[in-house]
């Protein structure tokens, strides 16, 4: 029986899931509004927002389920999330014209207190820290 504090979705894992769920809901809702009401203004940025929303939703569900398969899904989703925030963050600073409308990952998530940059790092740390209990 694994120690409760070391399970993926217990203890700090519960808090992590709620933060991910908040981002998932916010990104999904924001993306829905953007695509429904003004998609032609900035299709690239809005499609990126939608992609980010999907990643957050997948990561949230995987972290919440916490079984062995979910752990792999969560790792992949969070690695994509980290790559996304780094790539979009760098591109949005290097070529601001390509991003006329802010997306959640623009400028490394500056509009969201840099949480989009910190969150995947914390997520990967937590996956690693709880790994021992799963093998």
């Amino acid at each position: 029986m694994p120690d409760a504090a070391r399970q993926l979705n217990r203890g700090f894992g519960r808090v992590l899931v709620v933060i991910y769920a908040t981002f998932a809901l916010a990104a999904t809702a924001r993306s829905l509004v953007q695509i429904v009401t003004r998609f032609d203004e900035a299709p690239v940025a809005y499609l990126l927002s939608a992609g980010a929303a999907v990643i957050y939703v997948v990561a949230t569900i995987a972290l919440a389920r916490g079984d062995r398969t979910s752990r792999r899904v969560a790792t992949v989703a969070i690695v994509i999330e980290l790559a996304g925030v780094l790539a979009v963050g760098a591109l949005s600073l290097a070529a601001p014209d390509a991003f006329p409308q802010a997306s959640v990952w623009s400028a490394f998530g500056r509009g969201y207190l840099f949480l989009p940059l910190v969150l995947p790092i914390v997520g990967l740390w937590w996956l690693r820290r709880t790994r021992a209990s799963q093998v």
């Binding site: 217990r10 203890g11 519960r14 808090v15 709620v18 769920a21 809702a29 509004v33 429904v36």
Partner: protein, 121 residues
């Protein structure tokens, strides 16, 4: 959408956040009194949301109706969702989850007012 009821909604969710933060620091799991506090806060938020829905339907002026409706839907769901998520968590992590949820609720009440005023982006 501004006025005493909105202020009470902000105050209630901030008090709940502070309460949960104290439990988090003291390393305590939520007790019965906190669950009552969550229920009372949710009741206040629900009244605010119903008011918002009535205003949404009856207002003639142009504003971001979809965003407004989504914020109201999220607002009424955030505390029950968080409470459900920590229903079996017997550690201070439960308090941590509720800190996040009540701060999110506070933020959403403020955003509802901004979207109503037309500054929502």
């Amino acid at each position: 959408m501004t006025g005493p009821l909105a202020d009470v909604a902000v105050a209630a969710s901030l008090i709940l956040a502070a309460w949960c933060a104290i439990l988090l620091v003291l390393n305590r799991a939520p007790g019965r009194s906190l669950w009552v506090g969550i229920a009372v806060t949710e009741l206040i938020l629900a009244v605010f949301v119903v008011w918002g829905l009535v205003e949404l339907v009856t207002r003639d002026a142009e504003f971001a109706r979809l965003e407004f409706a989504l914020y109201l839907a999220g607002l009424v769901a955030v505390l029950p969702g968080a409470a459900w998520w920590v229903r079996a968590e017997k550690s201070r992590a439960a308090a941590g989850v509720l800190v996040v949820a009540s701060l999110v609720a506070t933020f959403m009440v403020l955003r509802v007012q901004q979207v109503w005023a037309g500054s929502g982006a």
